[in-house]
């Protein structure tokens, strides 16, 4: 090859280095791949890779530890926020995040997520909500929509015996310990862009010592929903966002670490030891 001309094309986008060099097991078009990629991009932007200890859930994304080159701890189903709490308390310099699905966070894990949020733990929770239990074959989840057919609601979810879809992030948003709570989706490029900003904001809430942060990402499950990948994305746009509105649900960032009495340190006070800019 001859010498490269100075006017070479420049790179607009390339695969994040934090993604390992393997093909994921996720189904074609599965939103997990997109969220993994966004997480890798944000962690690289903030130079957090070497400091991160991440907690993997039970669900399709239990395999996340094969796809993101970070230190990972596997947690029992639903317990990721508690495992993350343990890590956070003994490793003040680490960046701690959980990556959870809707069965993990909103069903078996409701106790752990609520109390990690209530304690204002300095962890960032990425909550991928596709309204179904993908890994185990497509059963109903607490976030499954009314009327949605799943293998355990074959005639469609009926509110009379299965109740209503659970708006987890709205529930968490009311807790004072929550510094940031937002909901995004992966339905189209602009939604993906906004979701990435929310993930970044959620990471910064931890770095600045503001408190607990959670980003719910409305995602798809083509196989579980019985659709092609393209149809499932359309379904996200047309149907799912009507039950789960997008946007920032709580923003208590900028307050710094709480004091024993619950207030924020005065402006100009000493910076908390655990915060480091990325």
């Amino acid at each position: 090859m001859t010498a490269i001309a100075p006017a070479a094309p420049r790179v607009v986008y390339s695969r994040p280095a934090l993604l390992t060099d393997v093909s994921t097991r996720y189904c074609p078009g599965c939103g997990h791949g997109i969220v993994h990629r966004l997480l890798a991009e944000v962690l690289e932007d903030l130079s957090l890779g070497p400091r991160t200890i991440a907690v993997a859930p039970v669900g399709c994304s239990v395999f996340a530890y094969e796809y993101l080159g970070l230190d990972w701890c596997e947690a029992p189903h639903g317990r990721a926020p508690a495992v993350a709490t343990g890590i956070r308390r003994v490793r003040p310099d680490a960046f701690v995040l959980t990556y959870q699905g809707d069965g993990d966070l909103a069903a078996i894990g409701t106790g752990e997520i609520v109390h990690a949020a209530a304690r204002g733990e300095l962890i960032t929770a990425i909550f991928v909500n596709n309204g179904i239990y993908g890994m185990t074959g497509g059963q109903m989840a607490p976030t499954t929509l009314l009327g949605q057919r799943t293998t355990s609601s074959p005639t469609g979810r009926d509110a009379r015996d299965a109740g209503y879809p659970v708006p987890m992030t709205e529930m968490l948003a009311v807790l004072p310990g929550v510094a940031f709570a937002g909901r995004g989706s992966i339905a189209d490029p602009s939604s993906i862009g906004r979701t990435k900003s929310m993930i970044r904001k959620a990471c910064e809430a931890q770095l600045h010592g503001d408190g607990f942060a959670v980003v719910e990402v409305l995602s798809n499950c083509p196989v579980g929903w019985g659709m092609t990948a393209t149809e499932s994305i359309q379904h996200l746009k047309d149907v799912v966002v009507k039950t789960y509105p997008l946007g920032v649900l709580a923003d208590r960032t900028g307050r710094g670490r709480p004091t024993a009495e619950g207030g924020s340190p005065a402006a100009g006070g000493p910076a908390p030891a655990a915060t480091k800019e990325g």
Partner: protein, 94 residues
């Protein structure tokens, strides 16, 4: 990923004397989900029905590099991060 070299071109866009393409596609990682095909505003992506990669899918193909604007929407929606997107440097004609 060798980012300093231009992407090899299948269709022969030329930058000066260097052939290049706006997209480099890791075809062996593509799962043929077509999210990029839907997302592309210029409709210049399609599955290559004549090829099957080692995962068993028809990988995506840039059908017309001349209309691609390097918007990177394809890269944004791709769950498998198969795209590397290039743009011609300012002031240089494609």
């Amino acid at each position: 990923m060798t980012l300093s070299l231009p992407a090899p071109s299948r269709t022969g866009l030329a930058l000066g004397s260097i052939p290049w393409s706006p997209l480099a596609i890791a075809t062996e990682r593509c799962k043929g989900c077509e999210l990029c095909v839907t997302a592309c505003p210029k409709a210049c992506l399609a599955l290559d029905q004549s090829a099957v990669n080692r995962l068993g899918y028809h990988p995506v193909l840039l059908t017309d590099p001349t209309v691609c604007t390097s918007c990177a929407f394809c890269a944004r929606v791709c769950p498998d991060a198969v795209f590397t997107v290039y743009v011609a440097p300012k002031g240089v004609a494609r």
